[in-house]
Amino acid sequence: MDQDAVLAGRAAAGDAAAFTALVRAHEGAVRRFLARLTRGDGADDLAQEAFLRAWRRAGDYRGAGSYRGWLMRIAWTAFLDARKSAGRREDREMAVLQQESPRNPDAAIDLGRALAGLGTRERAAALLCFGEGCSHAEAAQIMGLPLGTLKSILARARAALVARLEA
């Protein structure tokens, strides 16, 4: 049993310290995913909501798949819920990527430009598979999609990204 599973088991039993250790281990990935997905608009609040949901549902994690994947699924659901309640918004430039101090500052601008033209699902699929290193199966599970659907969404995202990078 890996370290995350042990900590998740203790968190399910009400151990707040174990849950804090899980937050420390995964906050970077969850916040990066949400920040890129929302373009920084309330990403930390969403991440907080996602982690608190994870705490409330700590007993639901059964060890099938990675804990990070389970957290990402909660984060994705929190994002969809927030978007549903806020309604559709105008696309904006992604300020968050400039806050990330990337290796190459131009890359952030390129990534922002590249992601700007993608739909929400395409963006999420690209972020999970290219940005977070998730497998197709894991990304499909996180987004609650059949594997074939995820693959076709990702293919569309990839084609759009390549086109933008070459433009």
């Binding site: 009400g14 707040a16 849950f19 804090t20 937050v23 420390r24 281990a25 906050e27 970077g28 916040r31 990066r32 930390d44 991440a47 907080q48 982690f51 608190l52 705490w55 409330r56 990330e100 101090s101 990337p102 290796r103 890359a107 390129d110 990534l111 590249a114 690209a126 972020l127 290219f130 940005g131 990839r158 990204l161 390549v162 990078l165």
Partner: protein, 105 residues
Amino acid sequence: MIEDERIVALFAAPERAPDEVFVARIARGVAAEQRAAAARAAAWRRFAVECAGSAAVITAFWLVWRLAPAALPLDGVTTVPAAAAAILILGLWFAIELRPSATAR
């Protein structure tokens, strides 16, 4: 493929140390959730105790009404035993709910 490598490189983010400020924010949220859960559990326990107490009172009045209506000292009241029992139960309920320890919660 070269395109895939370019895309992955584009998405790459630098490794960073955990953000302790954010971790502390979540820890505070979790502590607040734990306090709220404890308060909810206490409220449910109190509610269960009061339900049990009310049920006991209702049962007692029902038994009095069914088993010995003639023995009750108030003749007028025994003519409408259900209403009398209901009034008494309501009176007891208000007494329980308005007692100082209950209103101080």
